[in-house]
């Protein structure tokens, strides 16, 4: 794996909620911010249920999409962690 130690179990940070909006698509709602998610980010976050490890998330994404690469998912999760959408500890 590239970028994240195994087993990393990503979860939404406290106070973060996902929603969809007819005008804007998929959104992550944070205490003071709204993050508009692209399709990839929305698909990854939909699998961040607090129990699935990154490996498991990549497997699940692979069932729906072609060419899912672990390093891309890790990079995306790191970016979402920086924006305080997800926690990556533990």
């Amino acid at each position: 794996m590239t970028g994240l130690p195994e087993p990393t179990v990503p979860r939404l940070r406290p106070g973060v909620r996902l929603t969809s909006d007819p005008a804007r698509g998929e959104l992550a709602l944070l205490p003071e911010r709204v993050v508009v998610l692209n399709d990839t980010a929305a698909a990854v976050l939909a699998h961040c249920d607090g129990t699935a490890s990154v490996t498991r998330i990549v497997e699940r994404l692979g069932q729906d999409y072609d060419g899912v690469r672990t390093e891309d998912v890790c990079e995306l999760l790191l970016r979402l962690a920086e924006r305080r959408v997800v926690d990556l500890d533990g």
Binding site: G15, R17, T19, D21, A23, R84
Partner: protein, 364 residues
């Protein structure tokens, strides 16, 4: 270059009431507060929340005054959440018992912002003008016990800024996920107390060092947001994400404002949601269109490379200090009115600060 089309708003600040058990000297609400009898009804608020969601609002910030002073708060929160909005409660914590916090969490509050005046109980009570510090610590406990994420908000000024480090330690011990330390912004009642609240340059420098130290000590801990003191900066704070760009405010009487402080701009017509639909106010009103984009700007903003990020600074501050809301924010070093800000700073000395005037509350 053509101005981009107006996008729908993301967030709405809901000022349910001006009533508040606290009398903070930096209160940014207007000098004239709305009486209880002038407040919108539960039914009117329910309709406004529905209109807001239809307009595109996904974040609803329930504030005031003290929103807990409204007995219909649980109903309004429940409605906002049913509409799919993110529900943020902005409170002093006074009256927020464990039971009420649990009920509000069940109804759909997503997040609580709790104000704290100081780490020192006596000073906290003095600033709030009421014995509330201990109740606030209990309220924080009630919030986290209800499983709600907590932001601790602290307004910094001459009387508490020396204790930034202790304030952050206290907020961390209360279980805050987020800590917002914001230097006072001078609007409404707060502008009246400017001389008493303005920190010295030395205090600010020490506070910046203290923030650096606590960031290191609590690395990996809560999100720590520090809002600098614009009077001491060379560039203004941005006008939100731009005037009429992502946020709107509805006051206790239904006035609809582009910014919570925009009541100060008396040259703009006052829009009210009892007279016009929220969508019409957002898209078509003169008040919301007045400072959208960059077309309204004059020099030095008009040609400034920073005009798309700071939007000329704060329109409300420009109006309050110069009488012209289209002027460059005087906090900007490029403003021809910077002398107004410098004159206020020149009055700040290391001697004892002048006494502040506690907020006069809503008449009963």
């Amino acid at each position: 270059m053509a101005e981009p089309a107006v996008a729908a708003p993301l967030g709405m600040l809901i000022e349910l009431t001006h009533r508040c058990p606290l009398h903070c000297p930096y209160c940014s609400n207007p000098l004239e507060l709305a009486a209880r009898s002038a407040e919108l009804s539960r039914e009117q608020w329910l309709d406004i929340l529905t209109q807001a969601r239809e307009l595109g609002v996904v974040q609803m910030h329930f504030s005031g005054g003290e929103p807990l002073a409204r007995p219909d708060l649980p109903d309004l929160v429940g409605h906002a959440r049913q509409l799919g909005a993110y529900v943020n409660l902005v409170t002093s914590g006074v009256g927020l018992t464990a039971e009420r916090a649990r009920d509000l969490a069940e109804r759909g509050v997503d997040h609580v912002q709790l104000s704290l005046q100081d780490a020192d109980p006596e000073s906290g009570d003095r600033i709030a003008g009421a014995r509330v510090h201990a109740a606030k610590l209990k309220a924080a406990e009630a919030v986290t016990a209800a499983g709600l994420p907590l932001t601790v908000n602290v307004v910094l000024h001459r009387g508490n800024i020396d204790r930034v480090e202790r304030i952050v330690d206290l907020a961390v011990s209360l279980g805050a996920d987020r800590i917002e330390l914001a230097n006072t912004q001078y609007y409404g009642w707060g502008l009246r107390n400017r001389a008493a609240l303005m920190p010295t340059a030395g205090q600010l420098a020490a506070a910046r060092d203290a923030v650096r130290r606590v960031r290191e000590r609590h690395a990996g801990g809560p999100d720590l947001v520090y809002v600098a003191a614009d009077y001491y900066d060379d560039r203004p704070k941005p006008c939100m994400d731009g005037w009429g760009s992502t946020q709107l405010t509805v006051t206790p009487t239904g006035d609809v404002l582009p910014c919570p402080a925009a009541y100060a701009i008396t040259t703009l017509p006052t829009e009210n949601v009892l007279r016009s639909p929220l969508a019409e106010i957002w898209y078509a009103s003169r008040a919301f269109n007045a400072y959208r984009g960059t077309g309204w700007m004059r020099d030095p903003c008009r040609t400034c490379p920073e005009r798309h990020t700071d939007h000329g600074g704060c329109r409300c501050q420009a109006f309050q200090l110069t009488g012209d809301a289209a002027a460059t924010d005087p906090a900007c070093g490029l403003s021809p009115h910077r002398n107004l800000v410098d004159a206020a700073l020149a009055e700040v000395t290391d001697g004892p600060a002048p006494a502040f005037v506690p907020r006069v509350p809503v008449a009963p």
